[in-house]
Symmetry: C2
Subunit: 460 residues, 2 copies
């Protein structure tokens, strides 16, 4: 590992639970001075003599002044999250008390942890690679079945294994090329070039699969923006209610998880759909799509991953809908049409819209064909199987590095094709290994690490 370990031998402390008042709060201490310092605050027994993974209840005292009655969990190096000596202090959930305990610890030469520093230490101690460490932050931020599953898969080393296989193949390949180089004077080719080409093709294929998975991964991590638009009385509010009453995202019951209150969040098949309120569009619309042309509303539509156009089947004209579709096509929107109030409509009213692709018929009020609508939403946005056990790349940094890897693999492939000298080929392969290494953190800079971990929360 080409990271300097300087400055990582001190001891750190931070509140690990969410800020605010709760029944309990947990303060985490990690580093070589952990036991010495907490022992000084916990007079009732010598903690260094206690077993790892044991729990101790008692009073925490700062120079004789009672701080709190606490529960201590001991984790001894290397059997801890960070790989260092760790003590977790479970105290009463008063921010004032938590602050006082942290101050008492800090006054004994312990430093306040930076965001993500506990996980950064776990990475530096080799307990996790970088993809696993980054997945910890994703797991904490996860707010749907799919984002949780993808983060857990990566945290448990699923992605690392894929990368390890790529790396091993490349190293094997590289070794053969370098062997050739040693004998380059003799113009020997050790390996069958066709076999090489096949190997590179399969590496390109595997890399492309990972790159492709990012489209789904991004959706999983950030949710799908859906703009629901339509004229007044098309039944938009009724549809929203029907959708939300049915499948309201579990997470919306918990304070602080929904960041934008203007959106309604809907959980379909474990993926979050963010339904964007396009009331602004509706207000300015009279009866034609041209009037949607308010720039701000158009922007909303364009930034959405799907546009759901809702209309009343009895009220909508075929020519009018054709114009709307033309506008959508012109804007290159990913749209579909939803004919509402189909339960009370005449057969002929529905029949005339059957010429439109991407059109389904529902009744929001009587909850008819809502499942079909949901399938349509999923179909329009999700490519790939979110339930598969295969890796889904959700991290933009990984995606970027994989794109660079693909470029380098293309160069190797072209090099093979053009029979470039082995030493140049070896350089390209080293480049591939470099890109792989940046993903797992085998190759990294301290700055980059600091940047990655700075996005973590404090205490993790």
């Amino acid at each position: 590992m080409n990271i300097s370990l300087q400055g990582w031998d001190d001891t750190i402390v931070a509140l690990a639970t969410a800020p605010g008042i709760g029944a309990i709060g947990v303060i985490r201490v990690s580093g070589p001075k952990t036991f010495e310092v907490i022992n000084d605050l916990f007079p009732s027994k010598d903690l260094s003599q206690q077993a790892s993974h044991s729990i101790h209840v008692g009073m925490l005292k700062d120079n004789g002044i009672l701080l709190d009655e606490v529960v201590l969990s001991l984790f001894k190096n290397p059997k801890s999250y960070t790989g260092e000596d760790v003590i977790e202090i479970s105290c009463h959930g008063s921010p004032f008390i938590q602050e006082k305990i942290i101050q008492a610890i800090a006054s004994r030469g312990i430093r306040m942890a930076k965001p993500g520093e506990f996980t950064q230490r776990a990475f530096l101690k080799g307990k996790l690679d970088l993809t696993q460490a980054e997945a910890v932050a994703d797991l904490i931020a996860s707010n749907s079945e799919a984002s949780q599953r993808a983060a857990l898969h990566t945290m448990r080393g699923g992605f690392s294994n894929d990368l390890k296989q790529l790396r091993e193949s490349l190293i094997g390949f590289s070794a053969l090329i370098e062997l050739e180089l040693d004998f380059s004077q003799e113009d020997v080719e050790f390996a069958d070039r066709t076999q090489f080409k096949n190997l590179i093709a399969s590496l390109q294929n595997a890399t492309q699969q990972l790159i492709d998975s990012f489209k789904l991964g991004n959706v999983i991590k950030n949710g799908v923006q859906v703009a629901i638009i339509g004229k007044p009385n098309a039944g938009k509010s009724t549809l929203l209610n029907t959708l939300l009453n049915d499948n309201r995202a579990i997470v919306s019951d918990i304070a602080g998880t929904t960041r934008d209150t203007i959106e309604e969040v809907l959980n379909i098949e474990g993926v979050l759909f963010r339904l964007i309120d396009t009331a602004g569009i509706r207000e300015h619309t009279q009866d034609s799509i041209e009037q949607i042309g308010v720039s701000k509303s158009k922007e909303k539509m364009r930034s959405a991953q799907v546009v759901l156009y809702l209309f009343d089947v009895e009220e909508m004209g075929v020519t009018e809908l054709e114009n709307i579709v033309k506008e959508f096509e012109f804007e290159k929107l990913n749209y579909f049409l939803v004919g509402n109030k189909a339960d009370h409509a005449r057969e002929i009213a529905i029949e005339k819209f059957k010429q439109f692709n991407n059109c389904i018929f529902i009744s929001a009020k009587s909850n008819q064909h809502i499942d079909e609508l949901k399938s349509m939403l999923v179909k329009k946005t999700i490519t790939g199987n979110i339930n598969s056990e295969s890796t889904i790349v959700t991290n933009a940094r990984h995606h970027q590095a994989l794109l660079q890897l693909a470029t380098s693999l293309d160069e190797v492939s072209n090099g093979l094709e053009n029979r470039i000298p082995g030493d140049l080929l070896a350089l390209d392969i080293r480049q591939c290994l470099h890109h792989l290494g940046t993903i797992t953190g085998q190759i990294t800079h301290e700055d980059q690490l600091d940047f990655i971990f700075s996005k973590f929360c404090i205490g993790k």
Copy 2:
């Protein structure tokens, strides 16, 4: 204990840490089914075979579907907070994951805990008396040195011991009276009535001390409201800045602890002072106190525990100040006068105000005599020693019961004085014991308990 234990033999679950995103969250499970249910979710080992106070790391799975990697802390009945089997699950701090884990537990026949129910169970199992249980909630809500210390003292049984002594004296007294009753035909007096009177007097004295401590206790628990008033340019803002830069309450650094942002919170000698913004008064003031007469502002002044009147010593006239003082006296305010800009004032300007009681001279700008001002604030509000190890009653319910106890003790005392029959005296003594019992919870109703614990946070 005259509480029915029905309905307390099930198992409960709740999130114990503050809601929102943190590095970790802790879910608490308590009751007889705890180990059975968590075992079902934790396939890697049989938890029931593990020691109490041990820690186990592993995967939590719901019917084979991975929920999270967690750390379990085991506490076996009766060695736990509630006295029941308890497992604390330390999971990743995503509200979504916490919710999923709680749902997986709840789906196995575990009930969601009511607010304070873990502590209520600890009380019902005899691990804590009611004063100690109530102190747990106070401790979690504590936001100053003094409120924390008072809550810790009570939680550790300090108040309980005082009450126990009162109770034992009363029971001894009662026993003698009842013995007399048995021999009442023979007109025997077993004990010296003077000795009785002395005993009751000392009980009255001890009760009164506890009652008196509530004045301080209330201040400690709720802080002291201070209205700072004065004419424009008296130097109010400068004074506020000087006070706040010096001694800003630690708690104000932590989100969610200051409830009213209009107030500035100042921590002096471990007590919170809430400085009320009286800008409203200032705006309407020209040059006399009469113009303070805006009813809303007057109300603010009246509701404050102290009024600090700030004036510029060079600008203020003696007659004017006399009128202001008259108004304060008329309103029965607890006020004091602070002459500002004393450092640049002529000797004579200060000299003329020396006739006023409750008047000190400072310079807010050059930080002169600010400590004197702080002492004045403390002196004006705090009677009693907040640093003493004696009990300070902070709970209004306890204060109420102590007042009732005092009334009953008065009746006993009067009864002795008037030589009323022993059986009537015994009734009065039983009434005293009843009031004591309601404080500690030896005598209580389920409704009252539910009310007390409903004010706790969930998970405690």
